[in-house]
Symmetry: C2
Subunit: 272 residues, 2 copies
Amino acid sequence: MATARLLLLLLLASAAASCSAWDISIRVPTERLEDEVVAPLIHALRPLLGSGAGQLAGLPCDSWRLGVEAHNIIDWETVPAKCEGYVGHYMLGGHYRRDSAVVVDEAVAYAETLQLAGNGKEVWIFDVDETTLSNLPYYANYGFGAKPFNHTSFINYAAEGTAPALPETLRLYQRLLELGIKPVILTGRREYLRDATEKNLRQQGYSMWEKLLLKPTSALQAGAAFKSGERQKLVDAGYAIVGNIGDQWSDILGAPEGSRTFKLPDPMYYVS
Amino acid sequence: MATARLLLLLLLASAAASCSAWDISIRVPTERLEDEVVAPLIHALRPLLGSGAGQLAGLPCDSWRLGVEAHNIIDWETVPAKCEGYVGHYMLGGHYRRDSAVVVDEAVAYAETLQLAGNGKEVWIFDVDETTLSNLPYYANYGFGAKPFNHTSFINYAAEGTAPALPETLRLYQRLLELGIKPVILTGRREYLRDATEKNLRQQGYSMWEKLLLKPTSALQAGAAFKSGERQKLVDAGYAIVGNIGDQWSDILGAPEGSRTFKLPDPMYYVS
């Protein structure tokens, strides 16, 4: 039995490694994933250790992903081609959701310790893409970030307003509302996507935000500068930023960061 | 053949999961680990997904480790008890070394792009513990961080001056010297360990540093405040901090951080 199961897992893993087309009818399960469901998928996440040519040929994909998450690997354009299968499995399997759940568990535990001033000025910053909303249905068509970013097609996708919620973030969002901490949604999406983004967020269960801040359509700033500037405006207006969550380091770095910051996983793309 | 190998790996993995005593005669291999050597060890790193009682019972150890590395899980005292076996395997197997190698590859690639001013003022900050030197022989006796930190016994160990180099960091150190970038070693170890630390570093192949900065024996500052203060003094003295590498976020956060920062893995302990 154990042997048969292992062989099955090996087959799954090797099928994954050679697979470059993906079933893109993705459903993001909203229930909390159980260990029993998740465990087998871990085995499919064997890092691809190749010996081919090229600078990244010997790069283990799990170490590459850790390098991205710990802000060691920056300014990258696309997922290394050899890691497309690895990242696809990471995102579609239970691993991404488990990693996200641990971040949100930590954020919730922290939020529950806060003593609020009672003036209604405590806010928590949420990013949109790969934070409140998941663009996995889109990126599955682009090699999970292994194909170059296509701005036009992404805007078209975002304008549909059909992105699912990342369930872990929605859980944090709802808990913060219960606690009396007000969400501020701060995104690098530009103003022309306001209506689509607002509709998308509401349909996915997000509501009651204090502010929904998008980047001006003509702004030239990079994401980090825009976001730290907006956070400064909040502080200047008397808000206390008690928390800040995003999937990019550019959501997090740059004063005022917020009293605590949380980095959700995102091995699909990098935003400076 | 494949089946037999898988069964062997399964046996190794299950032996590991139930093992709490460790062979502590640890040798840190100095050669670059090859993929062939590393690959089997990955399988032993199955996250421990338990269903016991307690707050962390359901915590997957790999997600916990990612949470630590991405600065989501902070202010922790010890490795979760259920993750002792996982962290031990991570540290002793090839995984830690592979993850460290990717960080250092990125640091070397970055350093090689730098155009130096020619005034000899470019420096690179190195932390000591779990950065230039590895205390793995010590922590293997303390459950790889799962047992409470014992300050006295750690000081006694550090005073011996026998810690091995982390070979990846040594590779970066030597490359920077070749490039003309000067190492500055900046550690939270206190001045009374200066002689032992200096002897240990030299015996492990580190030399030619611009400065070796230890914390004053009576200082009350936390690590991050001490280190950012020392970096500010370097900048005030005309140095350009082109890079900064450490295993703790307290090595990295706090202006002036340095033009680029690199976070080596460390799932064994947390320093604020």
